[in-house]
């Protein structure tokens, strides 16, 4: 049943009815002040695919996202979008909402929009239509991120880049936002790239979880869980344990996917250190 759902989505992507963009990253490297942050990264994203990049702070995951967004330029390698015939329709959501404080919520959503309609509808989709006339300063952190999401989606992007957009939110708001992002992604079919330090968030949302360590991709795990994913399920917990232990570089033998729940004592230590990444 769960593989059916995944196949169905791949079929949708293949027919081209949806808006996803193919992304091909080949041999991309980037240095800052002589320090090599990314070392020859190769990564391919299928149209409509949801990829999550996890890793410790400073591993280069945000740099990769900024390269894809063309906010930085790569030293070596190339990044190709679709068939390469036109510039990609890319939008970013940042960790801080980056709303213009001097523009009302609706005008923030309209920023850079050639036409005037659609902004209110986008606000409706994130459940904030009634706050359209207010200043961003009076919104809560979660509401600001929802406005930022509406602002990104109103452009109907082919590729949505999410740079730890939920990192500053409380746990409940974060789960709410994850569900919102997932449902909008399923409805629109854009390609999505999520950079996060929260392994649970990556597993909850992504088709593939990619781990970057010291500028290299060291893990590329396909998540075959059916959507919507329940965080409490055994399979979810096993995956989380598996990836977390990889991130923390602990021996995977005790927590291999075949063992039932792994070593309970190790689970405890992993949870203890989970805050660090």
């Amino acid at each position: 049943m769960q593989s059916n759902a995944i196949e169905q989505r791949h079929v949708d992507a293949a027919t081209g009815a949806r808006r996803g963009l193919r992304v091909a990253i080949e041999g991309v490297s980037k240095s800052f002040d002589g320090r090599e942050v990314l070392k020859s990264i190769d990564l391919a994203m299928a149209p409509g695919e949801f990829v999550a990049i996890v890793g410790r702070s400073g591993c280069g995951k945000s740099t990769l996202l900024r390269l894809i967004a063309a906010l930085e330029t790569a030293d070596r390698g190339r990044i190709a979008f679709g068939d390469g015939s036109r510039p990609p329709q890319t939008r970013i959501m940042f960790q801080d909402s980056r709303l213009l404080p001097w523009k009302r919520v609706l005008d923030n959503v309209r920023l850079g929009l050639p036409r005037k309609n659609g902004a209110l509808q986008a606000l409706q989709q994130v459940g904030l239509a009634e706050r359209a006339r207010e200043w961003p300063a009076v919104l809560s952190g979660g509401q600001r991120q929802r406005v930022a999401l509406a602002r990104a989606l109103v452009h109907d992007p082919e590729l949505l880049l999410l740079d730890e957009p939920l990192g500053a939110l409380d746990a409940l708001t974060r789960i709410e936002m994850q569900q919102l992002i997932e449902s909008l992604w399923q409805a629109r079919g854009f390609t999505a790239l999520l950079v996060t330090h929260d392994v649970q968030e990556a597993i909850a949302l992504a088709d593939r979880v990619v781990l970057i360590e010291e500028g290299r991709i060291t893990l590329d795990e396909r998540i075959e869980l059916a959507r919507p994913r329940t965080r409490g399920s055994l399979a979810f917990a096993r995956l989380e344990e598996h990836i977390l232990s990889r991130v923390l570089k602990q021996s995977p033998s005790a927590t291999s996917l075949d063992s039932a729940l792994g070593d309970v004592s190790l689970l405890k230590t992993v949870n203890q250190f989970a805050w660090a990444i």
Binding site: A69, L71, R98, W102, L111, G112, W135, H155
Partner: protein
């Protein structure tokens, strides 16, 4: 203050009494700022009437009021206020306008900053009033000399604050706007200028205060009209009451300038939590 009225407000059973308490509170808040000036005025009247202070040193408040009334009746007062106000407005427009323009230019373009900033920093450290002899040699004691002097003084606060305002606009917001397709004038209008506005208005407020300081000096030294001329003329005839009228007029006009800049702030920065009332 609110503590004084809280017992009355607590009487919630009677709506009319709470309303009248609120009205009383509002009136009280209006009256309170004027208590100290009125007290000083009364003290002044008592001191002069009882002969503690000679009228040569400080005339009675009533005498000052009479002098003001007399000057207003003859039209002398209005003519002088009008010319001073005109000078203030023109020199503020010239100095402030140039400061804004150059501040924007050197804030935006690094090359303009390199070209101008050193020169301007040198000129800035010359007290504007030190230029008086030179200005009189150049322009005589015509209007140009006064406007030049005040405009120079007003220029720097606006220039410096505009420059720093532009430079301190949140880089994240600029990056966001650029990734949303804004560039050139729209980027300037929607992001950079509004971001610099709080700082620019600080400069404007500073300048408005300086206008009167510089104008009174310019008018007392070289003028045949204006409030400063009126007071200097009165001093020669030992009309202390007229001198005081002039001084009070400056206080009033200064307060007026402050009110204007507050209104501008309240309108332009209405998005800013720090300026909402």
């Amino acid at each position: 203050m609110s503590a004084v009225f809280s017992p009355v407000r607590a009487d919630a059973g009677n709506p009319s009494s709470t309303r009248s308490a609120a009205v009383l509170g509002a009136i009280w808040r209006r009256v309170l700022p004027w208590v100290v000036p009125i007290l000083l005025l009364v003290l002044w009247q008592v001191a002069t009437q009882s002969g503690w202070l000679s009228s040569r040193v400080l005339p009675q408040p009533l005498a000052v009021a009479k002098a003001a009334w007399h000057l207003a009746r003859t039209g002398e007062l209005w003519a002088n206020v009008k010319i001073s106000l005109w000078r203030a407005v023109v020199s503020f427009a010239v100095g402030g306008g140039l400061g804004l323009l150059l501040g924007l230019l050197s804030g935006t373009f690094r090359i303009v900053e390199i070209l101008l900033d050193t020169t301007l920093q040198m000129i800035r450290n010359i007290p504007a009033l030190a230029l008086i002899p030179l200005v009189i040699l150049w322009f005589g004691i015509e209007e140009t000399s006064k406007i030049f002097l005040v405009a120079i003084g007003v220029f720097f606060p606006v220039y410096l604050n505009t420059f720093h305002g532009i430079r301190s606009v949140d880089k994240g917001l600029i990056e966001m706007a650029q990734s949303y397709g804004l560039s050139g004038w729209p980027l300037y209008r929607d992001v950079i200028l509004p971001g610099a506005l709080p700082a620019i208005l600080v400069g404007v407020r500073f300048s408005l205060g300086l206008v009167w300081v510089l104008l009174i000096v310019a008018e007392t030294i070289s003028a045949q009209s204006g409030i400063g001329y009126m007071t200097m003329n009165a001093r020669e005839f030992l009309q202390t009451d007229v001198v005081l009228v002039g001084i009070l007029l400056y206080a009033l006009l200064g307060k007026l300038a402050d009110v204007v800049s507050r209104l501008l702030e309240r309108y332009w920065l209405r998005w800013h939590p720090g300026y909402r009332h």
